[in-house]
């Protein structure tokens, strides 16, 4: 089970600091929501967790290994155990749903086995993809072309791809911003249920405070690249959230 730890990390894109000196900690099987206005550094925090960005200051530790100490092979092994659901989904539209789902295994097998899995998925892979698609609610779309699916269905394919990795942890970046409000609740509910069933660590960034309070026992508030609060949800007060957004608004005004 993955245990993530970020120690005093700062990330700069060019000279722009995306996050500054943040500490973060996620235990095995724990789920946490990250809230905050756009540009608060939520996406960067998630990208730190699977080594997609390296901090210029500070370190990231997954389980017992610091990511900067790992060889490229070691880093890939860590990434293979972390499923990521991107805001823009990042599927291959002209492949079938099953092929996109099975491509989740690509970091876990040999070169030819993994590519064969994507283009000519074997019986066992198809059965497993079917089971996972059943869990996310669209088993009948197994062999459909991905670009013929609706936005919500595509998101489910992206979730299924992440689950096909047999991950220890799921990271989801703004999963509710790409679907309509009615779907948003279903998506967050699905992610939290699945991670509870499979005892996965879950880290979701989202705009929607109501959903965040309803589904996550612990919330992290971010603003301007810093962590403003990190508390159990039932200890949070309206004042905390107001601070999060009001401050950011005045900051925008000062710009």
């Amino acid at each position: 089970m993955a245990r993530f730890q970020i120690e005093q990390a700062t990330v700069r894109y060019g000279t722009f600091p995306a996050v500054t000196g943040i500490d973060f900690n996620l235990d095995p099987g724990e789920s946490v929501g990250i809230v905050g206005p756009s540009g608060a550094g939520k996406t960067t925090l998630l990208r730190l967790l699977n080594g997609a960005v390296r901090p210029s200051v500070g370190r990231v530790k997954v389980d017992d290994s610091y990511l900067d100490m790992l060889s490229i092979g070691g880093l890939r092994a860590v990434r293979a155990r972390v499923g990521v659901i991107h805001q823009d989904l990042r599927l291959v539209p002209n492949l079938r749903a099953v092929q996109n789902v099975v491509s989740g295994q690509i970091g876990r097998r040999g070169f030819f086995a993994s590519l064969r899995g994507v283009f000519f998925p074997g019986r066992a892979d198809v059965a497993r993809a079917h089971k996972i698609l059943e869990r996310v609610g669209i088993p009948e779309k197994l062999f459909e072309r991905t670009d013929s699916l609706s936005g919500g269905q595509r998101q489910r394919v992206a979730i299924a791809r992440a689950l096909f990795q047999s991950p220890d942890a799921l990271l989801a970046d703004e999963p509710v911003s790409s679907v309509d409000p009615a779907r948003a609740r279903d998506t967050v509910a699905l992610l939290t249920q699945i991670s509870r069933e499979r005892e996965l660590s879950l880290c979701v960034s989202l705009h929607n405070l109501e959903l965040a309070r309803e589904f996550f026992p612990r919330l992290i508030g971010m603003r301007g690249g810093r962590i403003v609060f990190d508390k159990p949800t039932d200890e949070l007060h309206n004042a905390d959230f107001e601070k999060l957004y009001d401050l950011s608004r005045s900051e925008i005004l000062n710009d």
Partner: protein, 306 residues
Amino acid sequence: MSKSSARAIAELRRTRPRNWVGRITGLALLALVVVSWTTHNFGWRHLFTARSAENFARFRREITPYPLQERAFDWDIFTTWLHTALTDKVMAAVVATLALSIAAIVLAAVIGAILSLFAARTLATADPYLPGPNVPHAARRHGWRALCAITRGFLIFMRAIPEYVWAYLFKAMLGLTAWPAVLALALHNGGILGKLNAEVIENVDPKTPRALRALGASRLQIAATAIAPTALNRFLLYFFYRWETCVREATVLGMLGFVSLGWFITDAQVRTNYDEMFLFILLGAGIILVGDLVSAGARRLIRRAK
């Protein structure tokens, strides 16, 4: 895997959407390639014999500049050779090649632009863009449809016959002036530009043409005011793409006797002055690369003009 899910998967697989066109095309082309390689004897064996290896070696000697064939490379000798090989006539042929391509593509653009008006299905109908005040007569409807179909067929025919063949045929009628070469290039490329431009016209957003039509504008007025300004950029992009191939073909048409670089290439080949022939071929490649650069620059300008 449970039995019921295995059955469900089999059923989903049976009813999955299939791309028959793609599959049949793939299989047919694969079969065609296999049949082509196996039924026709191309004589590949003769290419890999000691004799052809010798021939290649001889050829490699012969394409090195003649005064340098028997000695080490010397810059002075090379430049003197270059000066004698690149006579004023050759340089004039380089300019003529460019002039041929330019005259041809301009003529092709005129032909293509005019014919595309009759080949675009949105414009070449009895009632373009909106039903008019009165229903057009059946004869008019069928007349337009026939005109459109004939124009399209004519465009494909123009394009189906290669420039080289057109030039060969026109040469017998017009003699060795520049016209046969220009006409040949213009006809073939006019066919291509006409077809492409018809597609551009068909893809123009119908809102403005409809509004104009509702105001009672004629077909020509719609084309001039609502279609030309939006379609012009794309048309110019295609114009420069085709100009690149015109430069290529203009070089080669000289092999039929027209004044372009190709004539000097054939001439050097007939005299078995392979060193000069090779130099002229490289010179032709140089013209083409320069043409590509100019065209890419012009296309960038046009893209920015959007």
